[in-house]
Amino acid sequence: MIDFRLDDEYEALRKTVHDFAQSEVKPVIGDFYIREEFPYEIVAKMGEMGLFGLPVAEEYGGMGGDYFALCLALEELARVDSSVAVTVEAGVSLGAMPIYRFGTEEQKRRWLPSLCTGEALGAFGLTEPGGGSDAGATKTRATVDGDGAEWVINGSKSFITNSGTDITGVVTVTAVTGTKPDGGKEISAILVPAGTPGFTVAPKYSKVGWNASDTHELAFDDCRVPVENLLGERGRGYAQFLRILDEGRVAIAALSVGLAQGCVDECLQYVGEREAFGNKIGAYQAIQFKIADMEARVHSARLAYYQAAAKMLRGEPFKKEAAIAKLASSNAAMDNARDATQIFGGYGFMNEFPVGRFYRDAKILEVGEGTSEVQRMLIARELGLK
């Protein structure tokens, strides 16, 4: 029979990150969020704990864990705050993992040690102003300069997490580098170090949620990097980032489950304190049923991402499971955030209570790293529907 218990070391990690999130993040993150400020101190502490290096081998400065360890950490962080969680998620699954999976030995040695300790943050530039889910619509171009020594990149990228912090080290950019034999676009991934001339980071966006995380539009204007900065094989950029996105979906699912669980946590505490019509509101069935639904959603979504992660770690195809996990858990996050703010009544609309923040943070989960529509498309394709 399937044993759903976590192994001791995973449980110890989950508990450690839980304690960290409750003690170090929860008391202060609301203020960062309202000020729309990136929490460098918290990022540094998470770096000391090794959270940015969880799935990376020790020889590159990582923790020698795996992707599931990362997911557990993300869930516990997002249970308290999504901005902090997505900073780790993007830093690891989009920043470090492409280099770890597809980089040369030299690229790994150059970038991974500082990315794993959180001293530097990595970002992944895929989405463009005119194309998110339609990655084939990539317009950013990279050409090899006359003497063959440099890539010259031109174009722009949108909604790129971790791309403009004081500690951003490198952005992996996808660009059209030629035409494939079948006439399609040849897309490759290229490493662009922060501060490279011609690489401009626009002022940060004003966002509905994730307000303590760092998101920018990026512009590349005759931006030159050495040809050695090609990440992985030329023309394999598309295939590479699909693998990265499949993994990332499981990570976003874990983050969504965290938010959905955070809603349950906050509500359980609140309904035991708040009184109305002579009783604690937790005594009313209308409230109990809402919380029971919330718990059922988060529980189901958690099982979905655990199972997707298990298949990933076993090296089996997990595209469908990742899409299901992401779809189910982002739904759970949205639904739980709506129910939680309803239970909190007027206080749910106030920034001083976490549930209002959860409500604002939940929306992007149905959009980022593949919209819910894209997840449905993937599931349908995996079922053989064409």
Binding site: E9, A12, T16, F20, E48, M49, G50, G64
Partner: protein, 261 residues
């Protein structure tokens, strides 16, 4: 190379409701989540800082039931090198004198110790006398209630802080130190540390291994007997201060009376 032994105790989580057994008034270990005492995490941190600043080995010493291995693992995952766990049914209900003797006996099983670091007081029993008793049994200096600690060669310097003020203490190793909450902020274990902890050696000892008289141990060997225990009464209403123009003074007098300022 400094051999440091850190005393670690598993206690009921202070966030949960803590109870005593109705039959013998000992701690009901089943009623609450068991965790490493937070003050011991600070003791481990201080030991690790000394180790990292130079050379040393950190051994965790724990007296407690089998499930106290969780507390030991936490200390090992923070970075301690090895552990000694004294676990024996005969220890259940032991008083502080007996516990100090057991710890002293277990220290004899560690390959030479230079420094013993303990928390100043466990959050369950709150006796706060073990470090002093241990130093007395071992015949070494005791530097208790340390809020700051430094080691230069074999000279230990401690800022001891109590209600009466701060005292600067100095002693040569070997010595016993107890630390307060002000000593440091303990680190969170990393996943690498958690994985490594699984492979670190934990030596399990029983009373028979220690050369301690079993007759002095346990509930029957305790010098005092608990006849009755009652739950803490609910919190009483606070003290009201009427402000007749001297409210500020009265508040200050009250706080001073409580030794809060």
């Amino acid at each position: 190379m400094t051999n440091i032994v850190v005393l670690v105790k598993q206690v009921p989580d202070t966030y949960s409701e803590r109870k005593l057994n109705e039959s013998d008034h000992t701690l009901d270990r089943e009623s609450a989540d068991a965790v490493i005492d937070e003050i011991n995490e600070r003791a481990v941190e201080e030991a690790l800082k000394i180790k990292e600043a130079g050379e040393g080995e950190v051994t965790v010493l724990c007296v407690g039931p089998d499930r106290a291995t969780d507390a030991i693992r936490k200390a090992l995952s923070m970075g301690a090198d090895k552990a000694v766990h004294v676990s024996d049914e005969a220890l259940q209900g032991s008083d502080m004198v007996a516990t100090a003797k057991v710890i002293a006996g277990a220290l004899g099983k560690v390959d030479g110790y230079d420094l013993v670091i303990a928390g100043n007081e466990a959050s369950d029993g709150r006796g706060g006398a073990i470090p002093a008793m241990l130093a007395e049994i071992l015949g070494v200096p005791q530097l208790t209630h340390a809020r700051e600690l430094s080691l230069e060669g074999t000279t230990l310097k401690v800022d001891r802080e109590t209600e009466d003020g701060v005292t600067h203490l100095e002693a040569n190793l070997p010595a016993v130190v107890s630390v307060t909450e002000k000593i440091n902020e303990p680190r969170y274990p990393s996943f690498k540390g958690i994985m490594a902890a699984k492979k670190k050696p934990v030596e399990t000892l029983t009373v028979a291994d220690l050369g301690v008289d079993a007759g002095e141990l346990g509930l029957s060997g305790a010098a005092a007997t608990v006849l009755e225990a009652a739950p803490k009464p609910p919190r009483a209403a606070g003290e009201r201060v009427e402000d007749d123009g001297d409210g500020g003074t009265k508040v200050v007098e009250y706080l001073a009376g409580q030794k809060l300022i």
